[in-house]
Amino acid sequence: MAETGLIAIGAGLAIGISAIGAALAEKEIGSAAIGAMAEKDEFFGKGLLMTVIPETLVIFGLVIAIMILGLAKGG
């Protein structure tokens, strides 16, 4: 039972830390993108595109979390 708890913590860490990483990256890009948009509205599309690129990190975290949770069932 204790192992299940550790597995759950592991899954949480996988998604939580990857989300922090993505957030830090998006913070930088987002502020730059808003700056560009203030100059020229047409940058919305490109700005959005650039801003969301780090989100993939969270998706990886999520997939790893799901795989880790799979361990709990197996074990």
């Binding site: 599309g45 490109k46 959005l48 595109l49 969301v52 690129i53 993939t56 998706i59 999520l62 997939v63």
Partner: protein, 624 residues
């Protein structure tokens, strides 16, 4: 439909005697996107002679509109008012408005000055000296004002000199200090260090007698000036009310005239002829030719020209239901002339992604109602609202797939039928697989589009090397999955999968050699992105799951309150309302942006170049 509107580049040569009529015809036909002439062998044309006067008038009209703060979006008539009449009435109105504005400005200044003076006088009045006693001395100087720490200032003054006298009222709210002229500077310094605010005696020099009486007189003057100010404001408001409609239609018709008058600046010209170059949708070419020939009584020569496809303006050209999605293309940047226009694919896939994430019958109905309301009320947001409405309809459909109504799986005691369950654990795996399958299909459509674009631009060999290679890399997917231990496959297939993967990467690297060795190296590193791109579609499951879980939690909380009965029922209703409103707003934003992102990032990068200049026909802005 798959490509942007086909264009024809036309060169129109017209004698200057017919130019004005030809330009007017071009303006009203609204099909020619003028290619601005650059000074080379031909000079740049000169505007028609009325251009200067028209632009002066337009400046006047716009300044009037801003001075009077007229409303925007007024409906304007279609009539063509006489220019001399417009000029006469605009100049008269302009003088009137300028006078009134100046008067208003002066009144404001007077009021500010008088209010200050009145406050000063009232402050001084408490000291009890008549006004004439503050000035008119040979050796004495008077300082008046308020001081925060008067006692300290007094002590410091005493250290300097004894020759001064201070008058203060009992509440010590103000003071008047009489001192030798030579010590004035020193006294000022001491006072300033002790929180001194001066009331300058110059402002009431020339006044005599009691300050109170003067203060009362000024109060009356202030009231008069305020009345005058209010009256002027009302007059301006009346002018605005009477004129804003006419101003709006003048503005429209004058800017239209001005656009025509300034058009020759974009043409090439010699002494006797003008040369107009531009793009016309191929389908409108014949009718434009006929109209122009009629307008210039046959004295016109129109020739079709070869053109570089990269520089043509782009007009998207889609079936009617897909048209609102052109808005998303404008947001991203239009496709160039010779590449696929993905609007139709956006139309087919965007609502699916949105619905998959916000798949709830109840939420779908709320957002559908909301978007239909926005669509009816706001002309400007019509395209966006239509997109949202379609997406919401898809939400309702997916709501039936998942069997959810505001996060509830039961409705009126009956369990909703469903294909997949998002609220239970066994459904999540299915959901993930479904998301990834959707992603794989979407990305492969993108690769096919990329293959087509590459085929048109660089030929079959490049298309196979740069785009077909991705399919081979995808065929390596089973090998990667097997080596991660996620699936198990038999030996011969494992080898086949691996060799296809390697072949794909090598082909891609050769294809990218075009951009140099670094490009080839980058291609090898980036070959893995195809899998991360597909994995990225897991957000379809993730965003939806978050939304459902939040809805379930809201419902659980509310149910608990309902069970407690009494006042808790009210709290339960509040929880339900607030919670679901919040969840809908979050879901709407999240689902919209994530769907958009999947299109822009995962899908478009497989084929899209973009960045073309939009087709803006001459006359489009002003004739509506």
């Amino acid at each position: 439909m798959i490509m942007p509107q086909r264009m024809t580049k036309a060169r129109i040569i017209v004698p200057k005697t017919q130019l004005e009529r030809a330009v007017k015809e071009l303006h009203s036909s609204r099909v020619l996107h003028i290619h601005e002439h650059e000074k080379a062998e031909l000079d740049i044309g000169e505007p028609f002679e009325n251009a200067e006067k028209l632009s002066e008038l337009l400046v006047l009209i716009r300044s009037l509109q801003s001075h009077l703060r007229t409303e925007h979006n007024l409906k304007t008539g279609h009539g063509q008012p006489d220019i001399t009449y417009v000029e006469k009435s605009i100049r008269k109105l302009h003088n009137e408005v300028t006078d009134k504005n100046e008067k208003l400005k002066k009144l404001e200044e007077d009021l500010k000055r008088m209010t200050q003076l009145q406050a000063d006088l009232q402050c001084i009045a408490k000291i009890g000296l008549p006004l004439e006693s503050y000035s008119g001395y040979q050796n004495l100087s008077c300082i008046t004002g308020t001081c925060k720490s008067m006692d300290k200032a007094k002590r410091e003054l005493h250290r300097e000199t004894d020759k001064f006298r201070i008058f203060e009222p009992e509440d010590k709210s103000a003071f008047a200090l009489f001192i030798n002229k030579e010590n004035r500077q020193k006294a000022f310094e001491i006072l300033s260090n002790n929180g001194f605010t001066e009331i300058p005696t110059e402002s009431f020099s020339g006044m005599k007698g009691s300050p109170e009486i003067h203060a009362q007189r000024i109060v009356k003057e202030i009231r008069l000036a305020e009345g005058e100010r209010e009256k002027t404001k009302q007059e301006l408001k009346k002018l605005k009310h009477n004129w804003q409609q006419s101003l709006a239609s003048f503005e429209k018709s004058i800017s239209q005239e001005l656009e025509i008058a300034q058009a020759p600046l974009k043409f090439g010209s010699t002494r006797n002829i003008a040369v107009i170059t531009g793009w016309v949708p191929t389908s409108s070419m014949i009718s434009l030719k006929k109209r122009l020939e009629k307008a210039a009584s046959g004295k016109i020569y129109i020739r079709e020209e070869e053109f570089d496809e990269e520089e043509a303006p782009v007009k998207l050209h889609n079936i009617k239901p897909a048209r609102p999605f052109e808005f998303l293309m404008h947001l991203r940047g239009l496709p160039v002339y010779n590449e696929i226009d993905p609007t139709i694919i956006l139309f087919l896939t965007f609502p699916i992604f949105f619905g998959f994430m916000l798949g709830d019958i109840g939420y779908g109905m709320v957002t559908l109602a909301l978007s239909l309301l926005i669509r009816a009320k706001m002309e400007k947001a019509k395209n966006l609202a239509t997109i949202l409405a379609l997406a919401s309809a898809s939400s309702i459909l997916f709501g039936f797939v998942f069997g959810e109504f505001f996060g509830e799986e039961n409705l009126l005691g009956m369990e909703l039928p469903r294909l997949m369950s998002r609220a239970h654990e066994e459904g999540i795996q299915q959901l993930l697989v479904a998301s990834l399958i959707l992603g794989a299909v979407h990305i492969n459509i993108g690769l096919l589009a990329g293959f087509y674009n590459e085929l048109k631009h660089h030929g079959l060999k490049q298309a196979i090397l740069e785009k077909f290679s991705w399919f081979l890399i995808e065929a390596g997917g089973p090998f990667i999955l097997a080596s991660l231990g996620i699936i198990k496959i038999m030996q011969p297939y494992l080898t086949i999968s691996l060799s296809l993967l390697i072949a794909g990467v090598v082909m891609l690297a050769i294809g990218e050699m075009r951009t140099g060795t670094i490009g080839a190296f980058k291609a090898i590193v980036e070959s893995i992105t195809i899998f991360s791109n597909i994995l990225s579609y897991a957000r379809l499951m993730a965003v939806g799951l978050a939304s459902v879980q939040l809805a379930i939690i809201i419902n659980e909380f509310a149910k608990e309150s309902f069970h407690q009965g009494g006042f808790s029922v009210v709290i339960g209703i509040i929880i339900l309302l607030l919670g679901h409103v919040l969840n809908i707003v979050l879901g709407l934003l999240g689902s919209f942006l994530h769907s958009l992102r999947l299109e822009y990032v995962e899908f478009f990068t497989k084929f899209f170049i973009g960045g073309a200049k939009p087709y803006k026909p001459f006359g489009e802005n002003t004739t509506r």
